[in-house]
Symmetry: C4
Subunit: 234 residues, 4 copies
C-alpha cells in the first residue's frame, strides 16, 4: 500500500470509530440535544477528526465528521469539509498540539460533573473505582470562555503531569483525554459516574477518606493488570 | 402551485414536524403519560397546529393534530377537528397573537423545572451552557390557572424583551418559545437540563457566579456562530 | 351472544388489558424485578384478574393472569389457575369488595413514593399537576403487614371519600385505584411524578402553597373537561 | 449420559445463564462501561464461570465466560481460557470455597450502594421491601483492596450467619450472593433499590422505624411463600 493509501485508510478508520463513539455519550446519558463532542487523532498524522457543530447524534455518520489539522483548520475538499466543525475545535486542537500522547478528546456537559464545576470544587477520591481510573481527585480547571486558546490552555495546564484524564472546567463542564478516542470516552463515562456517586455520598454525611498509599496501589494495579492483553481499554 | 395548495402543503409540513417533535419530549424524559404539548405556527398563515388533549405520545400521528386559528378556535372539517385540542390551547394562541416572531410553543411538567417553579425561584445563570442558550437566568412567571387568558398573558409579559426562551410558571411548570417548533423543543430540553444541573450544584455548596460581561459574550457568540449555516437550530 | 359467552369475552378483554398495562409500570420506572402488580375488575361480574406472584414483566402474557373472586379465591380450571396470584391479592380483593366504583388497583414500590412513605409524610399539593390529578395532598395510610385484611382495610379507610386515588402505605409504598385498570395505572404514574417533583422542590427551600379554592377549581375542571369525549383516561 | 457429558452440559447451562444475567445489570442501571460482574457455580462440581475482565456487556457471549476452579485458577483449554478472568475472581472464589450454599456472586458499583459504602454506613431497614428481601439492614464490610484474600474474607465474615445477601464493602461497592446466579443478581437489583429509596427518604426528614418483630414476620413469610412453587427466584 502506498503511503497515501495508508493515510486514507487511517483517516477512514478514525472517522468510523469517532462517529460510533458518539453513541456511547447518548447511551450513558452524558449529553442532551447536540451538547457534547468526541474527537480522535489520526494515527501517524498531524490530523484529527471531530464532530460537526449542531448536528444531532442520530444523524451523525462517519462522513459528517470534519478533518482538521492540529491548528484546528479544516482540510479542504475532504468529506465533511462543507460543515462547520464543533465550536470546541480550538480547544481540542490545542490539546493535540501540546500533548502528543493524547489520541482522543471528549467534551460533555454531563449533569453531576457540571454541578461540581459550578462550585469550582474538585471531586475527592473516596471510592476505589475513582482510585482505579483516575488515581486521585478529579481536578478543576480555570474559568475560560470560547474565543481564544484559553480553554485548551486550561485543560493542558491542569492535566499535564496529573494522573486524572478528566478536568472539570469551572462553570462549564468536563473535558477528558485518553490514549485513544475510546479511552477518552471511557474517562468521560467514569468521570460522570464518580461525580454522581460522590455527590450523593457526601450529601448524606461525612465521607471516609482512602489512605494515599492505597490509592497509589489501586491506580498502579489497574493501569497494568486490568482488561485483556493488547486491549486499548486499559 | 396555487396559493391554496401552498397553504395546504405548509399545513402538512407543520403537522408532520410537530407530531415528530413530541417524540423528543419522551426521549428526554420531559413528560409522563400525556402531560406535555408542542404547537407550531403554520408559516405564512394565522394558524397553528397543536396536540389533541389526553392522547398518548405513541399513538400520536400528524393527522391527530388539531388546526386552530390564533384565537385557538378549531378550524372545522380539517383533519383532527373532531378532537379536543390540548387544554393549554388558549395559552399557546395568546403567545402566537402577541409575539409574531414566535414559531413554536412547548409546555411540559419536567421534573426539575417544576421544582424551581414550586418555590417561585428563578434559575441563576452559573453555567456556560445556560449563558449560551438563555443569556442569563430563567425567569419565573406569575401564578395563573386555566380558564381565561392569564397563563398566556403571564408567559408573554415575562418573556417579551427577555433573552430567555423559557419561563417557569409559578407552581405549574415550564413554557418555552422559539423561532420554530423545533427551537422551542430545544429550549424545553435545555431548560430542564439547566434546572437539574443548577439544582444539584447548589445543594452541595455555594455557586461561583459568572460575570455579566462573560454571559453577554457567550450569548452573543452562540446566537451568531453555533451550528451550521442555514440551520434553524440556532 | 349468550350470557356465558359475554362473560368469557369480558374476562378475555380484561386479561389482555391488564397484561399490557404492566408494561407501563416498566416504562415509567415504577418497578424493579417483579415488585409491583396491576389488577382489573371484570365488568359486570364479581371477578378480577391479577398478576401471578414472582413472574417477570417480560414473560407475562394474558393467560398468565390469575382470575379471582372478590374474596381473592382463585377460580379453578381457568387459565392461570395453576399459578399463585400476587401476594397482594387479599388487599386488592378487599378494595373491590368495599368500593364498587373501583375498576382497577395498582401497587408498586416506586422510589420517591416509598421515600415519603418511610417518613409517614403526606405529599403536599403545591403543583398544579397534583391539583388536577389528585385534588389535594396524597395521604398516608397506616402501617400494616401482609397476613390479614389490614392492608386492604387501610387503603379503603384512607381513600374512601378522599379525592386522591393514591395512598402511601406507611413504610411500604403506594397503592392506587381508578375507574379502570388503566386509570389506576395513570394514578400510579402521576403519584410517583408528584412525589419526585415535590421532594426535589422542598429540598432546596420553602414551597409556595396553592390556595385551596384554586386547587378546587383545577380539580373540578380536570375531572370534567380534560381529554377526549368518552375517553376513560379522565 | 456419562458423568463427563453431564458435567459438560451443566457447564454449558451455567455459561448461558451467567452470560444472559449480565444484561440484567445493564437493564437496571447497576453498571457503566465494564464495571461489574456475575459468576455462577457449576452445579455438582468444584467449578464456577465468571465474566472476563474489561469486556463490554454487549459483546459478551456464553463462550467468553472463563471457567475456574475454586481457587480461581482458569481451567486450561476450556472456552474463554485464553482470556483473563475478572479482576474480582479471587473474591468470588473465596466465597464459593467458604460458603457451599452459595450458587452465585455479583459485584457492581451501583450508584446509591456506593454512596452508603463511601460513608461506611449500613442501610437501615425502614421499608417493607427491604424486610422481605434482606430481613434487616444491609451491612458494611471492611475496607479491603485487590491483591490478596482480603475482599473475599471480608464478604464472608460479614455475610456468614447474616440474613442479608448483600454487603457494601467500605469505599468500594456492593457484593451480593444467592442460592443461584439469578438470585444473586436479584439481590444486587434490590440492594440498589433499597439504597436509593432510603437515601432519598432520609434526606428529607426522620424515618419511622419498623419494629423488629414485624421485620422478622415479613422476612419469614417472603422466604417461604412468595413466588411460584419450585421457583428459584425465592
Amino acid at each position: 500500500m502506498t503511503e497515501g493509501a495508508a493515510l486514507a485508510a487511517a483517516i477512514e478508520r478514525t472517522r468510523a470509530e469517532v462517529a460510533a463513539l458518539h453513541a456511547e455519550l447518548v447511551r450513558y446519558g452524558l449529553v442532551v440535544w447536540t451538547g457534547g463532542n468526541v474527537s480522535g487523532r489520526v494515527p501517524g498524522a498531524d490530523l484529527f477528526v471531530i464532530k460537526p457543530s449542531g448536528v444531532s447524534y442520530e444523524e451523525l455518520t462517519a462522513d459528517d465528521l470534519v478533518l482538521c489539522d492540529l491548528d484546528g483548520v479544516v482540510i479542504p475538499d475532504s468529506p465533511g469539509s462543507s460543515r462547520s466543525p464543533s465550536s470546541d475545535t480550538a480547544a481540542h486542537a490545542y490539546v493535540y498540539r501540546a500533548m502528543p500522547e493524547v489520541g482522543g478528546v471528549v467534551h460533555t456537559h454531563s449533569t453531576y460533573a457540571v454541578a461540581w464545576a459550578a462550585r469550582g470544587e474538585e471531586i475527592p477520591c473516596v471510592i476505589t473505582g475513582m482510585a482505579d481510573e483516575f488515581g486521585g481527585p478529579i481536578p478543576i480547571g480555570p474559568f475560560a470562555v470560547i474565543g481564544d486558546d484559553s480553554i485548551g490552555r486550561g485543560i493542558v495546564e491542569t492535566l499535564r503531569g496529573h494522573r486524572s484524564r478528566a478536568v472539570l472546567m469551572q462553570n462549564h463542564g468536563p473535558f477528558t483525554i485518553g490514549a485513544s478516542a475510546r479511552d477518552a470516552v471511557k474517562a468521560a463515562v467514569m468521570c460522570e459516574d464518580a461525580a454522581r456517586s460522590v455527590h450523593l455520598a457526601r450529601e448524606a454525611g461525612p465521607l471516609i477518606p482512602i489512605p494515599q498509599e492505597r490509592i497509589d496501589h489501586l491506580y498502579a494495579r489497574y493501569q497494568n493488570v486490568y482488561g485483556q492483553d493488547g486491549d486499548d481499554r486499559r
